[in-house]
């Protein structure tokens, strides 16, 4: 089962908590906002933790197959 991760660039302030926590999954683009490199490169638990660490709630995590929202 895979994850679908969406970063809302209207909310992302570039705090980089997600990048620090799961650098295999998130990186900063040229505007210093987070983008997803590979949604399944880290354990799902870690991805959910990274989403919860976002100070502005910019990250949404869903089940790629069922579309079920896992976070928030």
């Amino acid at each position: 089962m895979g994850l679908k991760i969406t970063v809302d660039h209207g909310l992302c302030v570039g705090n980089a908590q997600c990048v620090g926590l799961a650098p295999e999954v998130f990186r900063h683009n040229e505007n210093r906002q987070s983008e997803v490199v590979d949604p399944d490169a880290a354990p799902g638990e870690l991805v959910l933790r990274a989403a919860g660490y976002c100070p502005t709630g910019a990250i949404e995590v869903a089940d790629a197959e069922t579309g079920e929202i896992l976070f928030p």
Binding site: V13, N15, G20, R32, G52, Y53, P55, T56
Partner: protein
């Protein structure tokens, strides 16, 4: 004497001029439109005022260092008693160990150690406590029909919340409140302010030091335990634990105070928006708090130092140059906000920069939001006839370039 005072007031580069303190929006709004990357020769610093430039600066932490207090060798302004100069140096040394003064790499692990405590979800769990505290504070003043918002609500609320987060027992609350009040002298203009501030710092060290040992031995779910654990792991030194506990108390106090006072004043000055909130306090509290943060932000400006030569808008910022970035001006940038000088509690999206951006984005943002939401909601529900309790010209602000702090805010509702 009179002539030098007049000359100072007439200096267009005087950031402490009474009219600039009273209304920063006109002065810094003009800079934003005419010279958005402006060298102020009097303050010896660059003034940045456009939204786009602030976001750029804040996301490029490798170009702009946060170690501003530790490297600032200039005398304090407003001036202090010359005899207190050694105290000023001690205060400077103490503040240099604040998380907000750190650059990467140390900042990354230090922030990571405390970040989880302040996530949006973690702070949401504090909402019932905040709601109860707001209710109790308003219960105390309701029969009087009037209050100074600062004294009765805005100052005590954050101290109650933070001391609870520190795991301070009930009987120590008044002592901590007293220390918190002394720490507020960081932002004051009185010549003897260093003495009060130093008493607050010394009191904090004395009070918190044994607590850190206790919590290291028997951790709880409080913030001091988080820092004690970080010390055990070698991420924080003991000095940094003490400094940053004081920072939590100060930073969460002054800023929340200003959010509550400035927001309440904005509602009093805009009765149509007050009516709007009153019609749906629960539903509008969230957006209304964001608009209060944008319209009259608790922090007007903050500093950085250029870590290398940087070009921006045709100006060359040299390595070592100081920069002050004004969220108060960026939040009114017409390139980003429609009708920016209008207080509109339905504004969405509201991409204000009142909490900064980038790696130093306000650690306490989610807590501040919960506190603001609960206060504005409660005021709208309980005091529909809220109005100013003094003449408007009696209101005044602290002479600070950093904080937008009302000296008091008397209101009435009967």
């Amino acid at each position: 004497m009179a002539s030098s005072a007049t000359a100072a007031a007439a200096d267009p580069e005087d950031l402490f001029a009474p009219d600039v303190i009273a209304d920063p929006y006109t002065y810094f709004g003009r800079l934003r439109e005419t010279d958005p990357v402006h060298w102020n020769p009097r303050a010896e610093m660059w003034i940045l005022t456009r939204h786009e430039d602030l976001v750029w600066l804040l996301r490029h932490h490798e170009l702009f260092s946060s170690a501003v207090i530790s490297t600032d060798t200039r005398p304090p302004h407003p001036p202090i008693d010359p005899a207190d100069r050694p105290l000023f140096e001690e205060v400077r040394e103490f503040r240099a160990d604040q998380l907000v003064e750190k650059d990467r790499p140390p900042h990354q692990s230090m922030r990571a150690a405390v970040h989880e405590y302040f996530t949006p979800q973690a702070m949401e769990s504090w909402r019932p406590f905040v709601r109860r505290a707001v209710g109790e504070l308003l219960d105390e003043v309701e029969p009087q029909g009037r209050m100074d918002v600062l004294e009765a609500l805005a100052a005590p609320l954050p101290v109650r919340v933070i001391t609870q987060m520190m795991g301070v027992p009930e009987e120590d609350r008044d002592h901590l409140r007293d220390l918190a009040d002394k720490l507020l002298y960081i932002n004051r203009g009185e010549p003897d302010r260093m003495r009060h501030l130093m008493k607050g710092i010394e009191g904090m060290i004395e009070y918190v030091s044994p607590k850190v040992d206790e919590r290291a031995a028997a951790p709880g779910d409080d913030f001091i335990s988080v820092l004690a654990q970080a010390e055990k792991e070698g991420v924080f030194t003991r000095h940094q634990v003490l400094v940053n506990t004081a920072l939590l108390l100060f930073a969460g106090h002054e800023t929340t105070m200003n959010l509550i006072c400035n927001g309440t004043l904005a509602f009093i000055r805009h009765p149509d928006q007050w009516e709007r909130l009153r019609a749906d306090p629960e539903g509008l509290a969230r957006l209304a708090t964001e608009e209060c943060l944008r319209y009259d932000p608790p922090v007007k400006s903050t500093q950085r130092i250029a870590a290398e030569d940087v070009e921006r808008r045709g100006k060359t910022i040299r390595k070592g140059d100081r920069l002050r970035w004004f969220m108060a001006a960026a939040n009114r940038d017409p390139r980003v906000f429609e009708d920016p000088d209008r207080f509109d509690i339905g504004r969405q999206p509201n991409t204000h920069v009142s909490f900064g951006a980038g790696i130093h984005y306000c650690l306490g943002a989610s807590l501040a939001r919960v506190e603001g939401q609960e206060v504005f909601r409660a005021l709208a529900e309980r005091f529909p006839a809220l109005r100013l309790g003094v003449e408007p010209e009696e209101l005044s602000y602290q002479p600070s370039i950093q904080f937008r702090s009302l000296a008091s805010l008397p209101v009435a509702w009967n």
